[in-house]
Symmetry: C2
Subunit: 443 residues, 2 copies
C-alpha cells in the first residue's frame, strides 16, 4: 500500500477502504507519511467528501492513534458532552456538575480552541488556582471521587487529531463535515465516555452557518459514535444571538454560577436542562425525557448542582468561594461602562458574530494558538431578540482593559443590534434533535 495511491483514489472520488484509511492515519502519526502527502489527501477529502463508513473508519483510526481511556473502573456509565462552540456558550460549566449531581458521572476533556472568546478551559482558568491540565490518572481519579472532572485534552489521546488539526489550519482544509466530525468524535471516543451528547450550534455565531450543514454534521457524528458502540444524541441549537447575557471568561463563570442557583438568563437555563436531560436519559437515570428533564430541574432547585460545582473547583485546586460570591474571587476589568440604547423599539436581531468579534477586540479570545487571553474583559448584554427597549435604557455593558478597546467594542456591539418598531418573537433555541429515541421539542 502506498500513500500516493490512496491520495489518487480520493482525488478521483473513490471510496477508501478501512485498511487504506488506517494505513494513512497510522503512517502519518508515525511520521512515515509526510505532511505534504497528508495535506494533499486532506484537500482531496475536502473536495471529494467521505461517506459515513469512511468517516467512522477515519474517526476510529484517529481515536486509537494513542492512548484510549476506559472509565469502566470508575462507574458503569460515564457521560461526556461536546459543544461545537458559540458565543456566550458556558453550558459545560452548568451541565457537567448538574448531571454529576443527578447521579451520572461526567468526565469531559476540552480542547482549548481558537475563537472569539476563550473555550471552557479558559473560562475555568478565570477561577484563581483552577488547574485544567490534569494527568490521565488524576482525571480518572477525580471522576471516581467527585463524579465530575473537566480537563484539557491530553496529548496522549488521539494524537492523530492534533496533528491533522494543525495541518488543516495551515492548509485551508478545515471546512469539511467528515473531517470536522472525525476530529470531534475521535477525541470523545478516546476519552472513554459511554454517553455523549453533542451540542451542535448553527447560525451567525457558529462554525456551521446553515441548518442543513449543521444537521449533516450532527447526523454524521451520531452515526460515527454509534458505529463505535456509544450512546449518542445531538442537539441542534441556534447561535444567531449569544447564549445567555455574558460573553467573556470571568463574566461567563459568574453567569454559570447564577444559572446553577436557578437564576440568570432563561435561555441558558433552559438549554442546560435540555442537554442534561439527554445525558441523563442516555445514561439510564430516567425513564423518559420528561422524567430526565424533571430530574435535571430538581437537581438545580435542590442546590445539589451548585454544591457539585464547588466540589469540582476544590478538587481541581480552584478557590471554592467562586460559588458563593463570584466577584469576590474572579478578576474584574478596570473599565466597566454601560451603554444606553440608541433608540426605542424591539430588538429584531443580535448578531452573535459581531458580539464575538467585540469580545475578541477586548482581548477575551485568541486568534493565534497560544496567544494570551484577558479573563477580565467582555460584554454583558441586557437586551436580546424579542426584548422591548425604552429610550435611554441600558442595552449592554462593556468590561474593558483600556479606552481604545472599549470604544471599538462598543461600536461593534451597537452594530450587532437590529431593530423593529413592532413586537418580535423570541427565537427558538433548539432547532432539532438527532438520535433521540423520543424527540425533544424546543423549550
Amino acid at each position: 500500500m502506498r500513500a500516493v495511491d490512496i491520495i489518487a483514489r480520493k482525488r478521483d472520488g473513490q471510496t477508501l477502504t478501512t485498511e487504506e484509511i488506517g494505513f494513512f492515519v497510522n503512517g502519518y502519526v508515525r511520521g512515515e507519511i509526510p505532511d505534504y502527502q497528508a495535506a494533499a489527501w486532506l484537500m482531496a477529502v475536502v473536495l471529494r467528501g467521505m461517506d459515513a463508513r469512511e468517516t467512522a473508519d477515519l474517526t476510529l483510526a484517529m481515536a486509537t492513534s494513542g492512548r484510549t481511556l476506559s472509565l469502566r473502573s470508575v462507574a458503569p456509565v460515564v457521560a461526556d458532552k461536546h459543544s461545537s462552540g458559540g458565543v456566550g456558550d458556558k453550558t459545560t460549566l452548568v451541565v457537567a456538575p448538574l448531571v454529576a449531581a443527578a447521579g451520572l458521572p461526567v468526565g469531559k476533556m476540552s480542547g482549548r480552541g481558537l475563537g472569539f472568546t476563550g473555550g471552557t478551559l479558559d473560562k475555568l482558568e478565570s477561577i484563581p488556582g483552577f488547574e485544567v491540565s490534569l494527568s490521565v490518572d488524576r482525571f480518572i481519579a477525580q471522576v471516581a471521587r467527585c463524579g465530575v472532572a473537566i480537563s484539557g485534552q491530553t496529548a496522549e489521546l488521539a494524537p492523530a487529531d492534533g496533528l491533522f488539526y494543525e495541518l488543516r489550519n495551515a492548509t485551508a482544509t478545515v471546512p469539511s463535515i467528515p473531517l470536522i466530525a472525525s476530529s470531534i468524535m475521535s477525541k470523545k471516543l478516546a476519552a472513554g465516555a459511554d454517553v455523549i451528547v453533542l451540542d451542535v450550534k448553527v447560525g451567525r455565531g457558529a462554525f456551521m452557518k446553515d441548518l442543513g450543514s449543521a444537521r449533516r454534521l450532527a447526523e454524521l457524528m451520531v452515526d460515527v459514535g454509534r458505529r463505535a458502540g456509544r450512546r449518542v444524541v445531538a442537539v441542534l441549537a441556534s447561535m444567531d444571538q449569544p447564549l445567555g447575557y455574558a460573553v467573556g471568561n470571568s463574566l461567563e463563570v459568574a453567569e454559570a454560577v447564577e444559572a446553577l442557583r436557578g437564576r440568570g438568563p432563561a435561555d441558558l437555563r433552559a438549554h442546560c436542562v435540555v442537554l442534561a436531560a439527554h445525558m441523563l436519559l442516555l445514561g439510564g437515570c430516567a425513564r423518559d425525557l420528561s422524567g430526565a428533564r424533571e430530574l435535571a430541574r430538581e437537581t438545580l432547585r435542590s442546590g445539589r448542582a451548585l454544591a457539585r460545582l464547588r466540589e469540582m473547583v476544590e478538587c481541581q485546586g480552584g478557590d471554592p468561594r467562586v460559588v458563593d460570591d463570584p466577584w469576590a474571587v474572579l478578576p474584574r476589568a478596570p473599565i466597566v461602562v454601560p451603554v444606553a440604547a440608541p433608540r426605542e423599539g424591539y430588538v429584531a436581531g443580535l448578531d452573535a458574530e459581531k458580539v464575538g468579534l467585540a469580545t475578541l477586540l477586548l482581548g477575551a479570545g485568541r486568534e493565534r494558538k497560544g496567544a494570551p487571553i484577558d479573563h477580565r474583559v467582555g460584554v454583558v448584554l441586557h437586551k436580546k431578540v424579542g426584548d422591548r427597549v425604552r429610550p435611554g435604557e441600558p442595552l449592554f455593558t462593556v468590561h474593558a482593559a483600556d479606552e481604545a478597546s472599549l470604544h471599538r467594542a462598543t461600536e461593534e456591539v451597537l452594530a450587532a443590534y437590529s431593530w423593529s418598531g413592532y413586537p418580535v418573537r423570541r427565537p427558538r433555541l433548539v432547532r432539532g434533535v438527532i438520535g433521540a429515541e423520543a424527540a425533544i421539542s424546543s423549550e
Copy 2:
C-alpha cells in the same frame, strides 16, 4: 497576503490573481511556503482547475523563478521543440540537426523524465563519450558555433518547476492539464527560444489518452506561449502504436541515423518533416508550410542534416562514427532474438503501452528517478498496424540482457499485437495542429 487564503480561494473554485500566483510560486521557491501548503494548493488546482490567464501567470512565475536565458546574442531567432513523450519517440535526434542544417539554430534542453524507455538524454548517452550536462555558457556557445545543442535541463532554469514536479509526483497531483502545461512551458520559456513546436502525443502510449485532453493541453500551451511573446505551434500526434520500429536507447539512435539518411520507417520520417516544417515556418525560413516542408525534405536528401548530427555529436564529445556506422560504436545487447508471427493476417493494433512496458521489463527505462538504464536493450518491430503478415515471418526482434527478461518482454510484445483477417488501414499520425496559420494535413 497569506498562503492559506490563496489555498482557500482555489479550494472554493475562485480565480486567483496574477499577484496571488506570483506570491505563491515565489514563496514556495524561497522556502517561505512549506511543502504541505503547496501540496494542498496543488490538489485544489487539480480538482478546481485554472483558466488560461491563471495558467499563463503560473507558467511565467515558474519560468522566472531562476535564471532565464537569452539566445538573442546567438541568432535573431532560435528554435526549440518539445514532445510530451511516447514509445519509440526519437524525433528530437532527427529534427534538431535537420532544422539547424536548414538554417534555423536549435537550442533544446531536455528533462530526463520517467517512463517506459529513456528520454532524449538517455538515448544520446548511448553514444560513447556524448556529454549531455552542458553548462549554460557552453550550451549557448554551442548553439552559436554548431547551430544546434541538446543538453540536460540545468537546475538554474525554472527551479520552481523542479520543486513542484517532485511534490506533484509524491502527492498524486500530476494529472492536471494546467499544471502539465505550466511545467512544460515554464522550462521552454526559461530556455530562451523564440520558436517553440510542441509534439503533443495522444493515445495508449501517451500520457494523454484521449484526443480531447490532448487538444486542451495543446491549446493551453500555445496560448501560454503566445501570452509570453513566443511563436508556438502544437502538433497532435497519435501514440496508439510506437513511432518508427525501434524502441530502446541504442536502437533508437541507430534508427534516427537511418532517418537522417532518408531511410528507415516512413512514419518517423514523415513526422520529423512535419515538426521541422513548422519550426522552419515559424522561424521565417519559408514562405508557407509546403515551402517549409520542401526545405526540410531537401535538407534530409542533401545529407546536410546527417552532417549536422555529426557536428553536434563531435561538439558534445561523442564518437562521430555513430553517424557512419552506428553499430560500430553503439552498445549491443548480448541476446538478440527474432520472434516469428504466431499467425497470418493483418496487424489491426499494436498497443504502444504494452511495447513500452516490454522495454521497461528489458531495462531500457526507469520507474524511479535516478535508476540505471540499460542502453543496449529494446525491441525492434518489423510489422505495424496495417501490415500484412505471412505465417512464420519475423514479427519483431527482442534485444535483451538475459533470458528471463527476454521471455517476459516477448510475451508482452506478442500481447501488444491484435489481428484481423481483412486488410486494415494504416492510421493517421497527425491528428491536428494547434496555432498554425495554415493547418497542415496529415502526411
